[in-house]
């Protein structure tokens, strides 16, 4: 019987051994994107910009809402960071099933598939950040003095997304319904997160319910450390960090232990 520490040791050493494969798989996906499209990485910026424009019209003209920073900046920051999670998960959910040939024929840690999906999305996030900087300059919003804490928020964001990515990739391998449920869930989830409007100021029972959503804590965390004037909400960020670590470990161990069933059940 494998103990937990054995599992963790094996998971870690496998990732170390196959780290170059993770790099190659990510490179593959980025190369293909470049080869087949004229805009290449432009698409990473284009979609959040279009959405920002649309929602700016809605939330500044049709139904104005109050945000600490100019609304387009608020929305772009939310959409950009949300997109990291959404596109990581969208690729991850079918990453095992669409690589069935590899899963059934060649052995390597299967975590590579969802992880490389995340790395690709991380590159998009980096590319998109340049536009965020440009928007900040345009609206003359100075970076917050808490900006040095940005890596902490990114780390929590990545860990939480990784946990969900491992889980949905595995779930979709066993039950193909997951992909369809996912499409609905990701849309609902976005509107339950403070991507386009601040959930924090919503109040009421619904407001406090929505504050339980880890993605809200993460996206609010981004806004706080990028342009906040006061310190970020340590409690919610801390709780989210703890939840993310536990969720990631749990999802990864379950993933690792059921890996040997993947080839049979795909």
């Amino acid at each position: 019987m494998m103990t937990l520490t054995d599992d963790l040791k094996e998971m870690f050493s496998e990732q170390m051994h196959y780290r170059e494969l993770l790099y190659e798989m990510t490179r593959r996906d980025l190369l293909i994107r470049y080869k087949q499209t004229i805009m290449g990485f432009g698409w990473a910026v284009f979609m959040p910009l279009v959405n920002t424009a649309v929602f700016s019209v809605i939330f500044t003209r049709v139904a104005p809402i109050d945000t600490d920073v100019p609304y387009p900046l608020f929305a772009y920051c939310g959409l950009l960071t949300w997109n990291f999670t959404a596109s990581s998960l969208r690729t991850a959910v079918s990453s095992l099933t669409s690589n069935a040939g590899l899963v059934t024929k060649i052995y390597f840690p299967r975590e590579i598939f969802p992880f490389s999906a995340m790395l690709v999305a991380l590159v998009d996030l980096l590319v998109g950040s340049s536009v965020l900087l440009a928007l900040m300059a345009w609206y003359r919003v100075p970076p917050s003095k808490f900006a040095l804490l940005l890596p902490v928020v990114v780390a929590v964001h990545v860990m939480f997304t990784a946990a969900v990515a491992l889980f949905v990739a595995m779930a979709n391998l066993f039950y193909r319904d997951v992909k369809y449920i996912f499409e609905v869930a990701i849309t609902l989830w976005m509107f339950a997160t403070s991507v386009l409007y601040p959930v924090r100021t919503m109040g009421g029972r619904l407001g406090s319910l929505l504050m339980l959503n880890p993605m809200t804590a993460i996206i609010d965390g981004y806004r706080d450390v990028i342009f906040g004037r006061s310190a970020p909400d340590w409690t919610s960020l801390g709780v989210t960090a703890a939840v993310s670590i536990v969720a990631l470990l749990w999802a990864w161990i379950v993933f690792h232990r059921s890996e040997f069933e993947f080839a049979e059940r795909i």
Partner: protein, 408 residues
């Protein structure tokens, strides 16, 4: 550091027939079932079967184990268990050393990437380090023989080029243990020879090999021992000729519906004993057959064909050509035939096919494929298919003393 080995210890693997749990709808009943039946080592369910049963063998450094068996006998499953893609239901597997698996060589290729990009991708999938790939890059391209196309997307490659590139990458892995699944059937004859030479090289370097193939000739050349997997039966492990003979005799004849085979046997002329194990080269053999006609076959001759396991037709002969009169075989009548011949062939597995052919070729010949088979075991010849029994006359002449001084 212990030497690299492959070892199977009483390995069993269960598979399920039919469709199961592919939707969430099936999750609840299966969870309920799992809760109610707590037994771990339950026997087979109705829709389950053993694809591997009681498999035990060991491959030591520098040895090669051939894995043979009919389709669906579990050959590929055995290799998948070895590579940790599948987990055995029971039993232990030990693989010591870095595994190189020559299975699905082009599985990781992406059609839109160039040959160069795919070499790095596929190499990484097979567990090669980036600097190792870079160091051996030229060798790989050279082995595949595609230097002009290395910057062309793989989707523009011919299937042969694709397969050659796949093998070339795999051939430049630095494995300590090698698993091969029917990958020699790629490329043209020259490329196959090159692949085979490469495998020999691995083996001579002391790497244990597990080799799955339907090519008995390749198995006989490369391997020291054979594992014969049989569906629904325990496997057989043993020396190459013995197991090949067992496998060849187990297949049975495949007869045309117009004839019924009552009896076929192969025996040694000298001892009269029926052939079971391997025979020596030049053995005289008797093939006895009793064939009943289900339909009138008029003006027949008996055709005998000997085919080596890799498809090479060694011999085809016809009774009428050899001077026997043609005969009629009416419905219900039986032909008792004895064909005596000498097996002057080299090591390999040979299958005998019989045909009833009419002289005027007015009806389609009645075929009995795999009527009998035999295995020739021989270790004196380096290569080839026929025993030519050469005699040698060799004389060494020495130059005279004057001739030597002149050349200086």
């Amino acid at each position: 550091m212990a030497e690299p080995i492959i070892a199977f210890d009483d390995v069993w693997k269960k598979f399920r027939r039919g469709e199961h749990h592919d939707s969430l709808r099936d999750l609840i009943p299966s969870l309920a079932k799992r809760l109610t039946s707590r037994k771990r080592e339950q026997p087979l369910d109705a829709d389950e079967f053993w694809v591997l049963r009681n498999v035990s063998f060991e491959v030591k450094p520098g040895k090669a184990m051939g894995i043979i068996g009919p389709n669906g006998a579990g050959k590929s499953t055995a290799l998948k268990v070895l590579t940790r893609i599948l987990k055995p239901t029971r039993g232990q597997i030990r693989v010591r050393g870095r595994v190189g698996a020559l299975i699905e060589l082009a599985a990781g290729f992406h059609p839109d990437l160039t040959g160069r990009e795919n070499i790095f991708l596929q190499g990484a999938i097979m567990g090669m380090r980036r600097d190792a790939i870079r160091r051996r890059f030229d060798e790989i391209v050279d082995f595949a023989g595609i230097p002009d196309f290395i910057d062309t997307p793989v989707k523009r490659y011919s299937s042969g080029m694709n397969a050659r590139l796949g093998f070339a990458i795999a051939a430049h892995l630095d494995p300590e243990v090698l698993l091969i699944d029917e990958v020699l059937a790629v490329g043209d004859f020259n490329f196959q020879q090159k692949c085979f030479a490469r495998l020999e090289q691995f083996r001579r370097a002391g790497i244990p090999i597990a080799f799955v193939s339907h090519n008995m000739q390749a198995i006989a050349t490369l391997c020291d021992r054979i594992l014969l997997l049989r569906p629904g039966q325990d496997p057989i492990v043993g020396e190459v000729p013995t197991v090949l003979a067992e496998y060849a005799s187990s297949k049975g004849a495949l007869a045309d519906s117009r004839v019924r085979v009552h009896h076929v046997s192969l025996s040694e002329v000298v001892s009269g004993a029926e052939v079971h194990g391997p025979v020596a080269t030049m053995t005289r053999l008797n093939l006895d057959a009793e064939i009943e006609a289900n339909q009138d076959l008029v003006r027949c001759g008996l055709l005998i064909q000997v085919v080596r396991s890799d498809g090479l037709v060694i011999f085809t002969g016809m009774s009428t050509v050899d001077g026997l009169p043609e005969f009629d075989l009416f419905t219900g009548e039986r032909l008792k035939a004895r064909v005596a011949f000498q097996a002057n062939v080299l090591r390999g597995t040979y299958v005998i096919n019989l045909q009833l052919v009419d002289k005027l070729r007015q009806w389609r010949e009645a075929v009995i494929n795999g009527a009998a088979s035999f295995v020739v075991s021989e270790t004196t010849r380096i290569a080839g298919c026929a025993e030519l029994s050469p005699t040698y006359e060799l004389a060494v002449t020495r130059p005279t003393l004057s001739a030597v001084t002149r050349t200086r």
